[in-house]
Amino acid sequence: MVEPTTEFKTERLFINMGPQHPSTHGVLRLGLTIEGERVIEVFPDVGFLHRGIEKLAEKRTYVQLIPLTDRLDYLAAMSNNLAFVLAVESLLEVEISRRASYIRVIVAELSRLASHLVWLGSFANDLGASTPLLYCFREREDILDAFEVLCGARMTFNYVRFGGVARDVTPEFVDKCRRFLETFDKRVDEYERLLTNNPIFLSRTKGVGILSREDAISYAASGPMLRGSAVTWDLRKDAPYLVYPEMDFIIPTGSVGDVWDRYIVRIVEMRQAARIIRQALDGLPEGDFKAKLPRALKPAKGEAYSRVEAPKGELGFYVISDGTTSPYRVKIRAPSFINLAAILAMTKGALIADLVAILGSIDIVLGEVDR
């Protein structure tokens, strides 16, 4: 007798998601093997935006390199400037003023807000809610306006320099920031009203794309990805730099490590970043905004690694100096790139729609992934 077959066999399909696809956020290509709607295998293919920034670094002077770092994570260029400058400064052994430190904290946190706002908007858009995208860009516009007042540029700033910052903070900038911060918390409430408790949003994010604590650590995930998986780890607290120890803020963590946890971690982080900026603006000391340095920078022979908590995670610059005007080697630890690898652990048995949500929740910027 023939056993009745209960299993329905279907053919597996290979589809290319990207490099031109609305929700791969740039030129990421995902090779998907699917069975119906279910994703069997994901193969992230990176490198379409490779510009060889690390190699270019060997042929440029240190000062010329700062604008190149703007092009890494172009949504939070201040953090990139900062990480690179900190690495070189530890070779130069230069003392920076407290005022410069405060300004750096302000711009880095504003950058975090700008980056998280873009993330929130595009993540919501990936889930089909198109309205938060425009709300978020409205707020981001205020931040970019403030940056424009500060340094003339809106996205690629070249603002954080060796020994301090390029220009001093003007009262106009402080004013713009304060006015922005006045309404910002209410605006975040608005986003939360649209998303946080929306049953459709919850059903799309709760329990989807779970990254366990162990996996998160073994994939070396960092930033909101790591904190979403219930690991309390933030460089601003755990390896403090600048004047962060003087600031009062909390590190939000998730509980299970699903998409929703990463979402709420970033939402709380936005509120905390606004808090930090307020404190820094209040406590902004007088003093020099830039230390005197020789025109031709020749850091001492040696190597330095510095890391900052960028919006996407731990951004590290490893710089080897041979005592000349350009570095011997620069290695960038890009958080987006390393976080992206964890997609393999998160998409087991996911649907295509889940994959979009998961990819959105990683928050990648291809400029940084491909460098």
Partner: protein
């Protein structure tokens, strides 16, 4: 004198003309009228939606084309679509690919023939109009599936499979919710249903039925939060990824025309059709339908998209039992009151 003559000609015209000519002429006039009305409606609807969604999203929406609030924007878009090069990709299944937009378009237009815009303004009042609407309307599903299959594109195929699954399942609660109204009105004619609501709209007698109709109706026309077949962030453009120019325009037209059909049916079945004080019936009808349209746009501005499996389980596990419950209660109350 001459007016009298014209009146005589008008009365005896059917006898004067050879047999099929008069009938065909009437049909042609009705059909042209329907098409003209539909295209006008869709053009307005597209502009209306863009303005509404723009204001919801703190934007302004179209503003320049035509002067006043960009009223000519959708006309300009249509002309652009009509003038575009007609591209048929090399790998497609040609007959299926070409036929698909027509199937979708025609099956949508035909439905307009039975919609009673006012007491007099209905192209054809069929005595089983409601069945006609839903039967013809579901033919469009086949057209959409043809588009997805014929495009020879994996994203289109996925979109087409989703359409088939979605529309087939959402049709069940949709029709069940309509059944309650039919039981109350004791007729299948759309005109008859509206006339039965002269004193009280069925939305008051059938609130649950109305809720089910609205949800299933939005699922039926693939609007957010049920726009799964063409989920942009997942499937690029779903079944019409490979279509451009005129053929795309047909899909677009059909989609919006279909939205209007859903709104019009909501008006006929639950909101009292053309009934309303002072204004002529036609304005009431279109006004009510556009309120429903506004509701759909509002939803689009607020909600994220459901996932395909969640949407299916919502349909079968929530909507369908509720629709049966609605039917049961309606029947019980009616037999008790008898």
């Amino acid at each position: 004198m001459s007016i009298e003559l014209l009146r005589l000609i008008w009365i005896f015209l059917p006898q004067l003309l050879p047999w099929p000519l008069y009938e065909l002429g009437v049909m042609a006039v009705a059909f042209l009228g329907v098409i003209f009305f539909m295209i006008l409606m869709v053009l307005f609807m597209v502009w209306f939606e863009r303005k509404i969604i723009g204001h919801i999203q703190v934007r302004i929406g179209p503003l320049h084309t035509g002067g006043w609030h960009g009223w000519a924007q959708s006309i300009a878009d249509t002309i652009k679509l009509f003038l575009k090069e007609d591209i048929i990709p090399r790998g497609v299944d040609k007959p299926v690919y070409i036929l698909a937009p027509l199937v979708v378009f025609v099956s949508t237009v035909v439905v307009y023939v039975v919609i009673p815009f006012s007491e007099k303004l209905v192209a054809r009042d069929i005595n089983m109009g409601i069945l006609f609407v839903f039967a013809i309307g579901s033919v469009a599903t086949i057209g959409i599936f043809m588009a997805g299959w014929g495009s020879n594109n994996k994203y289109s195929l996925l979109g087409a499979m989703r359409v088939a699954a979605q529309i087939v399942s959402y049709e069940v609660p949709l029709l069940l919710s309509v059944l309650g109204v039919l039981m109350l009105a004791q007729t299948l004619s759309l005109k008859g249903i509206v006339e039965a609501q002269k004193h009280v709209w069925y939305v008051l007698l059938q609130p649950l039925g109305f809720a089910i109709y609205v949800i299933a109706g939005i699922g039926e026309v693939n609007r957010l939060p049920f726009d799964i077949p063409e989920a942009e962030s997942e499937l690029v453009a779903g079944f019409h990824t490979e279509y451009s120019g005129l053929r795309f325009a047909f899909f677009f037209l059909a989609e919006y025309a279909n939205m209007f059909v859903m709104s019009a049916m909501a008006t006929v079945l639950f909101l009292g059709g053309w009934h309303g004080p002072i204004l002529p019936g036609f304005f009431w009808f279109v006004g009510k339908a556009f309120f429903f349209m506004f509701f759909m746009v509002w939803l689009r501005g607020t909600f994220p998209r459901l996932r395909v499996d969640q949407m299916m389980s919502f349909c079968w596990k929530v909507l369908l039992p509720l629709a049966f419950l609605n039917l049961l209660v309606t029947g019980l109350v009616m037999s008790v009151l008898k």
